[in-house]
Amino acid sequence: MKYPSRARWIAAASALGAVLVAAVFFVLTAARPSGRVLPTNAPDVANGKVLFHVGGCIACHNPPSGTDNSGLPTGGAAFSTPFGTMYPGNLTPDPDTGLGRWTAGEFVDAMTKGVSPEHRHYFPAFPYTSYRNMRIEDLLDLRAYLMSFPPVRSTQRDPDVRMTGLARRAVGLWKRFAFRRRTFEPDPDRDAAWNRGAYLVQGPGHCGECHTPRNAFMILDDTRPLEGGPHPRGEGHVPSLRDLVGRGRYADVADLALALQFGETLGYDKLSSGGMAQVQMNLARLPEDDLRAISEYLLSLR
């Protein structure tokens, strides 16, 4: 049987084209370690502890309900997202299921690049898109605090996501756009407290992951920071954090700081729904200066 030569050419060209596209996709979406040089000064565990609570790490990396070790970030509890159910990892220094064998570089890459020690992309349910705003020193302090926990063995599960391998590659492509967002830079025209607050909100606090609306590509929309939007799990509406004074939500910086510290206990409404209860109870553990810094920054948003 003889094919017309033109059809053959087209078939060969499309096959070659498909291979090329696959190769480009493969290269573009690969997860690579950054190989970045880390500072070597001794880490500050106390600072790491503060950052642990700012991030509310325990809120997602908690043990499955009904198991012991409550209070330790052993991971394993289900975390549902629109893309599937995730099972956040074990943050205790267990060598097999936790961070025990991770190098500092691997930890920093996970937090800022979303790349695992096995060179795989993490799904952005792990909010590295915010953590990449963190200072390296802070990341190392946080790691030192995590390493101070007793090692706990826990069950690690892969996420329930369709075609996980391909989906991770798609995350690699997504990151190429999501990482174009500018990282945090202090504003020299503002005072230290404002800058501290801005850093905590945009970096470790990852407030924008819920409070900033996302565009069609699920990338945080920098033109509408902290304006609120649909709840990521479809549970209603995440409130805007802008113009909180003008909208009559809080009187002043001290008022908001108290609200963050005590939540609904002091009669402040709307601080427990949609996951905010966990956030608030972690914020309650912050030094009061940091709560005031966060409040000063938030109330400056018009």
């Binding site: 206990t265 949609g274 966990q278």
Partner: protein, 177 residues
């Protein structure tokens, strides 16, 4: 409401009377009447359900508003914006306990939606046993608060009560703008 009334009028009164005037066969009239009745029953039950939902939603939102005001009074004491006053504590705690006590009846089946927006989550009805347990815990904390007469015991009691609010709102309320 108006389109529904018109619907009722059209199918039951007008249609019925016109078919009789025209002297259609009895069988046809019967079928028409039965259909009309079924439609009326369906419309009525939907209307009724929506009305029940709306009424319950409004009532529980008012109850929550009352609790919110009482919590603000207690919060003001904790924030030292108001002096400790055992009477204020008692009346505020009574309001909270009463509203929480009746709250159990303000989430009837079918009141997950109505003509006003509700932030109540489906878990209230799918996990009703636990919802009731959380309500009871919060109510017990409010009852305990009623007998607080000294400032030293006030803070911890408020902490327990506040946790009652948080636990329930965490699980059973959607966030709102």
């Amino acid at each position: 409401m108006c389109p529904r009334l018109w619907f009722l009028l059209k199918y039951v009164v007008i249609d019925w009377s016109t078919t009789r005037e025209r002297g259609t066969e009895m069988k046809g009239t019967k079928i028409r009447m039965l259909t009309a009745l079924a439609v009326v029953a369906a419309v009525a039950s939907i209307t009724l359900a929506a009305a029940t939902g709306t009424k319950a939603i409004k009532e529980r939102q008012q109850a929550m508003e009352d609790i919110g005001q009482a919590m603000k009074a207690l919060g003001a004491i904790a924030k030292k914006q108001a002096p400790f006053d055992a009477d204020v504590v008692k009346t505020s705690a009574e309001t909270i306990a009463n509203r929480l006590n009746t709250a159990a009846y303000l989430f009837p089946d079918g009141s997950d939606r109505g003509d006003v927006e509700t932030w109540a989550k489906a878990e209230i009805w799918s996990d009703h046993e636990n919802f009731q347990k959380d309500l009871d815990t919060a109510e017990a904390a409010a009852v305990a608060m009623q007998s607080v007469t000294d400032e030293a015991a006030f803070g911890p009691a408020l902490g327990v009560l506040g946790n009652g609010c948080k636990t329930c709102h965490d699980t059973y309320r959607r966030p709102k703008q």
